[in-house]
Amino acid sequence: MSQLFPMKQVLGFVFSLLLTTVALAVYFLDMSFAAGMTILLVTAFIQAGLQLVVFMHAGETKDKSAIYTNVFYGLIIALVTVFGTLLAMVWDM
């Protein structure tokens, strides 16, 4: 039975629940917008990295450099899209 629950994945799951709890602090505690956004950015990106490495087995095979290059490419386009839009449409710069 215990071989069906590998330590790495169980710990990954516990850690992801922990990150969710930390993120919830922005709802239950009173804090500034900047502090809240910092917590959310940090917890969300750690959570995404955790899924990628622990659950999606991204770094286990010989195609790992192709996988990571592709993920980072997608991520860079995503960040440019989101922050470029914010710059032009919301922050009025």
Partner: protein, 198 residues
């Protein structure tokens, strides 16, 4: 077909590992798709017109349920892949079935949430904010719905054909898709719901 026994079954042929890489490239495109939805949402989130704001319609309880359900389903599909790699077909099918049931529970809560929004006067045509919100949530929900049927057919095929290089490859690719949906949800949870309720 050359089978390399030093690798897990889903990676054992050249074609298999290319299919997995190909799916990663698809996920890269999906990251960009959701980025455009988030960019639109961030632009329009304060354009509420005469409709309600996010702070008025968001509720922490259903959102928390959705988050925990989806995180758990991501964990169980991971356990399913682990069971598959050690050759335990029965355990794998059980974990995959739990994953799909959690997926259904997630969709149930999300549909309940959408119905509540519409009752509170926040339909998809109410304001720029509700359009962007429901399009983003709906695109994620549509992905989960597709994933449910995809996973169902994977389970049926594994029951019929057993664990072969082909079926394990399909199951592994499905697990990548499911984990990716969890990642997207984490961003929806953080930057739509929690940010909106802060």
């Amino acid at each position: 077909m050359k089978i390399d026994n030093s690798l897990p079954l889903e990676y054992s042929t050249e074609e298999n590992s290319l299919k997995i890489l190909g799916f990663w490239i698809f996920l890269g495109a999906e990251i960009m798709l959701f980025a455009t939805l988030f960019a639109t949402y961030f632009t329009l989130e304060n354009r509420t017109g005469s409709g309600p704001t996010g702070a008025e319609i968001f509720q922490i309880t259903p959102v928390l349920f959705e988050t925990i359900i989806l995180l758990t389903s991501s964990f169980t599909v991971g356990l399913g892949i682990h069971a598959m790699r050690i050759g335990k077909q029965k355990a794998m099918v059980t974990f995959f079935s739990i994953t799909l049931l959690l997926g259904l529970a997630f969709l149930g809560v999300e549909i309940f949430e959408f119905v509540t929004y519409v009752h509170e006067g926040a339909g998809i045509q109410t304001s720029a904010f509700t359009s962007a919100l429901l399009t983003t949530l709906g695109t994620h929900g549509a992905h989960v719905t597709l994933g449910f049927f995809w996973g169902l057919f994977i389970i049926l095929q594994i029951k019929k054909r057993g664990l072969t290089p082909q079926t394990t490859n399909k199951a592994f690719i499905f697990s990548l898709y499911w984990h990716f949906l969890d990642v997207v949800w984490i961003f929806i949870f953080s930057f739509i719901y929690l940010k909106g309720m802060m």
